[in-house]
Amino acid sequence: MGVKMKTTSKGEEHNSHPKGEEHNSHPPYVKIYVGLLVLTVLSVVISAIVHREYAPPFVFTISTIKGLLIALYYMHLKYEGRIIISLALIPLVIFAIILFIFMPDILSTVKQ
C-alpha cells in the first residue's frame, strides 16, 4: 500500500523546467564575446593614456557596460521573471547602501 514517492524525482513532479520555452532566439554569444574583448582592451588603453587619478570614471563605466552585457545576455536576465530580477537587483541596492551611508564616517577624518 505504501507508495514509494521518490523525493528526488521532484524535477518532474512540479515546476520542472518547461521544455524548450526560452532562448529560442539565441542572442549572438560570440558577437558579445568579441565586444567584451574590445571593451577590455579599450579600458586598458584609456587607463594608459589618461593619468591614473582621472581614469576611474571612464574605466568603471566600461566595466559597468561589460557587466550589463554579461548579466543581461549570458545570465539571461533579459528573459527572467520578476522574482529572479529582484533577486539580482536587491544586492546592488545593499551595495549602494553600504557604500554611501558609511561614507561620511569612514572619510570623516583624513588619516594621519
Binding site: S16, T40, E53, P56, F95, I98
Partner: protein
C-alpha cells in the same frame, strides 16, 4: 484558483505531479539565484569597504603601480573566454546536446584552472618583492579582495567539475545553467576588481 473549470469541491483525485501550484520557474533556478544574491552581497561588502578605504587613503596610486597589469589583463581574457564557453554549455544543455555541454564545461573549468595558476604566479612574485598584506592599505585590500575572488573562481571550477559528473547520470539542464551562472557572477566581480587594483 480553479483547476481547468472544475469546481474545487468536486475534485476527488489528482494526477500525480499535478498537485502543486504552478509557478513557472524551476526550483533549482530560484534556489541558485537566492544563493547567488547572498554571494553578491558578500563580495559587494568587501568591494564597498575597499572603495571606502581607497577614498580615505590618498596615495593609493603610487602603490597600485607595483601590481602586474599584464597578468591581470591575461586573466581578464581568460575569464571572458570562460564566460563564452559557459554560456555555450548552457545553450547546448538546454538543446539536450549533452556531449557539447560536457565539452564546453570542460573548457570553462580549464579557464578557471589557468586563472588560478596565473594568480599563484602573480602573488608569489609580489610577495617576493616584499609587498606583504600588512604593508599598507593598498596591499591589504588587494590581497583580501583578489584572494577572496580567486577562491571563488576555484569554487566555481569545482562546481563545474561536480556538475560534469552529475549530468552524466541525471540529465538536468538546470545544473549546467547554475554552473554557468556562478561563472558569470565571478566574471562580473572581476570586471570591477581589475580596474580597481590594476588600472587605476
Amino acid at each position: 484558483m480553479k483547476a481547468e473549470g472544475v469546481r474545487e469541491v468536486e475534485i476527488q483525485e489528482i494526477q500525480i505531479g499535478q498537485e502543486y501550484e504552478k509557478v513557472g520557474i524551476p526550483f533549482q533556478k530560484i534556489g541558485f539565484w537566492i544563493f547567488l544574491a547572498g554571494e553578491i552581497v558578500i563580495l559587494g561588502g568587501i568591494v564597498a569597504s575597499v572603495i571606502l578605504f581607497r577614498l580615505s587613503y590618498p596615495h593609493w596610486f603610487e602603490e597600485s603601480v607595483h601590481t602586474n597589469a599584464t597578468i591581470a589583463f591575461i586573466n581578464t581574457l581568460v575569464l571572458l573566454t570562460g564566460s563564452l564557453t559557459a554560456v555555450l554549455s548552457h545553450q547546448s544543455a538546454f538543446s539536450y546536446n549533452w556531449g557539447k555541454a560536457q565539452l564546453f564545461l570542460g573548457l570553462t573549468a580549464l579557464c578557471g584552472l589557468v586563472f588560478v595558476g596565473l594568480k599563484f604566479v602573480e602573488y608569489s612574485r609580489e610577495i617576493h618583492h616584499g609587498f606583504v598584506p600588512s604593508r599598507n592599505v593598498f596591499w591589504m585590500s588587494y590581497y583580501t579582495t583578489t584572494g577572496l575572488h580567486g577562491l571563488h573562481v576555484l569554487a566555481g571550477t569545482l562546481i563545474i567539475f561536480g556538475v560534469m559528473l552529475y549530468i552524466k547520470k541525471k540529465k538536468v539542464p538546470e545544473a549546467v545553467e547554475n554552473a554557468a551562472l556562478y561563472w558569470h557572477f565571478v566574471d562580473i566581480v572581476w570586471l570591477y576588481i581589475f580596474p580597481l587594483f590594476y588600472l587605476t
